[in-house]
Symmetry: C2
Subunit: 672 residues, 2 copies
Amino acid sequence: MVNQVQRVEDTWRTCSKSDSSGASNSGCESSKESSRSSTPVLDTDRTDRLRDKMRRRTESGDHWFSLEFFPPRTASGAVNLISRFDRMGSGGPLFIDVTWHPAGDPGSDKETSSMMIASTAVNYCGLESILHLTCCNQTKEKITGYLSKAKRLGLKNIMALRGDPMGADWEEEEAGFNYATDLVKHIRCEFDDYFDICVAGYPTGHPEAESYDEDLRHLKEKVDAGADFIITQLFFRADTFLKFVRDCRAIGITCPILPGIFPIQGYQSLRQLVKLSKLEVPEEIMQVIEPIKDNDAAIRNYGIEQAVGMCRVLLESGEVPGLHFYTLNREVATMEVLRQLGLWIEDPRRTLPWAVSAHPKRKVEDVRPIFWASRPKSYIYRTQDWDDFPNGRWGNSSSPAFGELNDYYLFYLKSKSSKDALLKMWGEELTSEQSVYEVFTSYITAQPNVAGHKVMCLPWNDDPLAPETNLLKDELDKVNRRGVLTINSQPSINGKPSSDPIVGWGPPGGYVFQKAYLEFFTSSENVTALLKVLKKYEPRVNYHIVNVHGQNTTNAHDMQPNAVTWGIFPGREIVQPTVVDPVSFLYWKDEAFALWIEQWAKLYEDESPSRMIIKYIHDNYFLVNLVDNDFPLDNCLWQVIDDMFELLDNPPEEQPADKNQAMRSKELSVEL
Amino acid sequence: MVNQVQRVEDTWRTCSKSDSSGASNSGCESSKESSRSSTPVLDTDRTDRLRDKMRRRTESGDHWFSLEFFPPRTASGAVNLISRFDRMGSGGPLFIDVTWHPAGDPGSDKETSSMMIASTAVNYCGLESILHLTCCNQTKEKITGYLSKAKRLGLKNIMALRGDPMGADWEEEEAGFNYATDLVKHIRCEFDDYFDICVAGYPTGHPEAESYDEDLRHLKEKVDAGADFIITQLFFRADTFLKFVRDCRAIGITCPILPGIFPIQGYQSLRQLVKLSKLEVPEEIMQVIEPIKDNDAAIRNYGIEQAVGMCRVLLESGEVPGLHFYTLNREVATMEVLRQLGLWIEDPRRTLPWAVSAHPKRKVEDVRPIFWASRPKSYIYRTQDWDDFPNGRWGNSSSPAFGELNDYYLFYLKSKSSKDALLKMWGEELTSEQSVYEVFTSYITAQPNVAGHKVMCLPWNDDPLAPETNLLKDELDKVNRRGVLTINSQPSINGKPSSDPIVGWGPPGGYVFQKAYLEFFTSSENVTALLKVLKKYEPRVNYHIVNVHGQNTTNAHDMQPNAVTWGIFPGREIVQPTVVDPVSFLYWKDEAFALWIEQWAKLYEDESPSRMIIKYIHDNYFLVNLVDNDFPLDNCLWQVIDDMFELLDNPPEEQPADKNQAMRSKELSVEL
C-alpha cells in the first residue's frame, strides 16, 4: 500500500551499529555491565552522517545526485512541493536541500518556512536534507536559535551562506557575521561536530570577490573553519568546473566538491537566474536559445541535452562523485537528465515496505501498525513525541500514546486536491449510502464516476491504488459495490524474493512474506452476519470490529500484535515491519472515523442531505479488520465476505434445530 | 538437537502480559510516559504462578499429575536424578517437588542438597518445582535465610512442613516453630504473597494428632494461615481420600486437595514407608503381596494395577483435579501408571525448539545462540548472571558477558558416564587422528566402535543423536569419516506445520522454518580448501571459522546475528528462538575446544600418545560453522563439503592461468 521508496543500501548499512569493530578477531572482553540492547542507538551515534555516505559512495565509484528546492509561497504550494519530494525522492537522491528565504520568515513554524519544509522532507518524506542558512545581518543568538531548532527537528546538515546583504550600504560589522566563514566557525563552536556543513563554491569567482584567487582563498578559509563539502554555483561549461576543482586542489582543498547543475528550462527563468547570480551565459548557448525563446518545449529539450552532455563530461573526468541539481521546484527536466545519465533509480529497492523517516531519533524504527499504511505522514506526526521506536518487534504496547487528533488537519495531512476537485470526485450531491459505495468502486476500478470524473483519492488514500493492491482489484470492486468499503488491504505472500518488483523490499537474497489483510467500513447489519460467518473461520482468521463509539469485538489477544509482513534475509535477524496491533487500532479508529466528517461531510452544507448521509455512515458503520493467518494457503478473506453476503441474501429459516443459532445471533446483536 | 520438551500451553499463555486487561473495550487512556517495552516483565509479575495454573486446569477439567523426588546421597546420584528430571519432565508434570532432608545439609550449596536439586530442576530442567521445608527445631533467622536463598535461586513454591522432631523428648518452644502453621504464617509475614504455599493433609489423620477431627482442624488452620493447596499423605483406598475431601469441605477448606499416590514398587520399600508414616496397609493388599514378596516384577505389576484402579476411581469422582505421585526417585512404575491413565504426554508439544527455563527471571527469554543446543544446561549456567534475556530478537550483542569456564566442571555439566564407560566408547588407546574420526562416526551411525562398544555420547553431545539430526545421518556419516567432525547441525525447513512431530514447536496453527546449519571441527588443511570453495557460495553461505587461539575468519557481519530458526503463528509476532551470533560464537569456541581436553584428553595418562593426539587436534583444528541462508532451496552445505573434498583430492595443477588463485590460496593460508 505504500508508494514511497528509497535507496535501500545505505539504510541497511546503517542498521549495523559499527562497521569498523574488530570484534571478530577473538579476545572478546567480557563486561558484566552491558547486556544486549535491541535499540543500541544513541543520539550522538551518527555513523550514517551525510559526509560518511558521500565518502563510501565516492570510494566505491557509485555516482549520486542531489536536488535543490526553494520554499513555496503558499500553503497549497507546500502541499504540492511535499508531493514532489515523494515523487523525486523515489528516484534515489543522496540528499535534497532547501534554500533559506530571508523574506519568508524562514525559521518560523509557518508551513511555508524553510525550516518547516526541510523538517517535513526529513521527518515525513524520509529524505536526507540540508537546510540552507544565511547569516548576514543576523545576531548570534538568532542564528543559534535557528540551529537549535533545526537540531530539535531532526535536521543534521547545514549549508552555511553569507546571504545577500539588505540594501546597498552594507558594511562589515565588528562582531557580527560578515562572511560564511563566520557562520561555519559559529556552528562548530556552538554545536561541535553535530552538523555536517556544506559551503558554496564559485567556479567563476564570487561576483563580489576582488579576484578569482581571492575568492578561492575565502573558500579555503570556509573549509578550514570546518566545512565538510562544497556545492558550486551553476555554470555552463564542464571545463569551468574542472578548472575550478584543479585550482581548489592546488591550494589544499581536499573535501568533496559537487558541481551545481542547472538544466535550462525556459528563457525567462534563465535570464532571471543569471541576473541574480551575475553569471554570463556563454555565447554558444545564447545563439541556440535566442531563436527559440518563445518555444518552451524546444528550450527545455535543448536544456536537457546541454545538461546531459555537460554532466557526461563531468562524470567521465573522474573528478565528480555526484551531481547537484538546481530544480527550480520543477520535476520534468531534472528527472529526464538523470534518466538519460542512468542515475535515476527506476525501480528502487525498498528498505522496508514503508518509507523510512530520516529523523535520527527514528533510525532504528522498523515496525509499524498496518493501519496507517496509506497515511504514513499522519503516523509519523502522531508518534513524533515518542522517545523510542519499535525495533525488531512491536512488543506488548500497553499504552502507545499516540498524539491527539486535534492538529490532524495540519497542512501535510491535508488532501492535495481542492474542495472543487474533491466534490467532483466524491459527488456534488449524495442521495443514498449507495452513492457512497459507488465512489469507492470508482476509486478501486479507476473508472469515471456517474458525473464522468475519475476518483483519484479517498479520505483514507490520498493516492491512486498501489500496484500491490491492484492485484486485488476485481475482488475489491465486487465487495465495495455491496457496501464493504475497503480502505486498506494486502494479499498473502508466501516467500517471494526480496527483489520482487511489486512486493519485494529489503536487501538482496531474502524472502518476503505477508498474511492477507483487509480493512473496511460496513453497516451493522453486515457486521451481524459477518460475526456469524467468522465462527467458521476460527482460529484461522483474526478480526477486530469497532464503531465510532468504541464498541469493540475481537477474537484476538487484547495486547499482542499480529505480524502481517516479515522478511528473512541472509545473515540477519527476522524483520517484521508491519503488525496489526490491537491497541493502536483503537487510536487509528478515531482517525479513520474522523476522516469521514473532516474530509468528506464538511464538503457539504450543514444539514444538507449529502452531509447527513456521510454523518449517518460515520455514526452507524463499523470499522473491521481481518487477518488470514494461514499465509501459505489461498487468501480466505474474500470467501469470508462472500459467505457474509450469502447469509444476508439467504437467511436460514428459523427452525427448531436452528434455535441455538438464532439465540447466538441475538446475543451478538446485543453484544454490538 | 534438543530432546527436552514440556507442555506448551501454559508457557505460551504466560507470554501474554495480562489476560484480564480490558483494553479491547475502547477508551484507551493515552499516557505519554510509557512507551512500549519488549520485556514487560517485572519480578513481581507472577501471572504464571502455580496456583493459577492449577485453577485454570481445574476450570477446564484438564487433569494433571505431579511428581515427588528426594535428594540423592552422592554426586553421581545427583547427575542421574537430573537426567531423570529431564526424562520424566518430558511427560508433562504440572510440577515436581523435592523433599527436605534435614540430615543432608538441605539448604547448602552441595550438589546433593534439597535446595540445589530443586534449583537445578527449575533453572536447568525448566520444571515448575516445589521445595519442601521443615521448621521443627529451626530458628526464624535460619528459616528466613533458606527462604531468601530459595527466592534468589528462582524457586517460587514451598511445601511447608513441621518435620520430625529430633529425639523423643521434643517439647513445644514458646516462640519457635512448633507446627507447620507457624511456618506458613512466617512465610506470609516475611515474604508476603511471593511464594505459593502447599501443606500436607493426612487422609487418616496425622499419627500424632489427638484425633482425626483434631487433625482436620489443624489443616484448616494451615490453610487459613495462607496455604494455597494441600497434598495428602499416601493412602491405599480411594474411599479414604474421598471421605477426607468431603470432611475438609465440610469444615470450610476450599483450596485444591491433591491425593498422594504411591504405586507399590517392592516389598521392602512398602514396609519401610508404612513404618515411617505409621500407616496400615489394608488386609486385601497384604494378602496379594505376601505370597509374591520375593518377586519384584510381580509386586511392581500389582502395584501398577492397584494404583491405576484407585486413580481411575479418584479421577471419575470429579473431586480430583490432579494426582501427586511419590516416585521414590524411580521412573518405571509411575510412568506406566500415568501412561495407562492417559496422563503421560507421549508426544509433547514444545514451546520453543529448546527447553525453557522455569526461573522467573528468564520468563521472557525466547532467543538463544544455536551453539549450546546440545548443552543447554551449560548455556543456562553461563548466563545465570544476566539481568535481562533476549526477547524477540537477539539484537546487537556487543558484549554478552558469558560466565567464565572455570566452574564448568560443575556436576550438572559433567558427563553422565563413568571414566571407564567413556574410555570404552572413545577408545582405550588412540593411534591417530583417524581413530578419533571413527569415534565420531560410531556416534553418528549408532554402530559399535572397533572394540565393539556403542558410542552413546561425545563431549559435545551427552545424549544420542536427536530425531531431527537423524534425518541427516547418511551425510553426517560420510563427512565424519573424512575428518569433518560434526558437533551440531540442523536441516533447512521451509514452513512445516508447528504440530510436526519431529521439527514442530510453538502453538498450533503455525509454521516453522529453519536455515540449514552445520558446525564441525576440522584440520587447517581442510579449512584452506574450504575457504576456496566457499567463495563459490557467496553470499548464500555464511561462515565463521576459528581456532583455539581465536584466529577468526568470517564473511558475516561482525555483530549482527543470523536467525536460523523461526516460527509464524496465528495472531502473534514472529518468534525466532535460535540465532547464529558472531560474538557468542567466540565464547562458545572456548567451551567447545576446552571439552577436547577436559572431557577427552584427560582420560589418558599425561604424555601418553592418546592424550597427545587429542591435544594435537585441540591445538591445530578449526571450529567451523556454516549457515545456508537459502532455506527454500535444497541444503547446499553438503555440496560445500563435497566440493572441499573434491578440491583436496584433485588439486588444480598450477598453471599460468591459475596464478591468481594460487596467490589467493597463499594469502588465505597466511590469514589463517
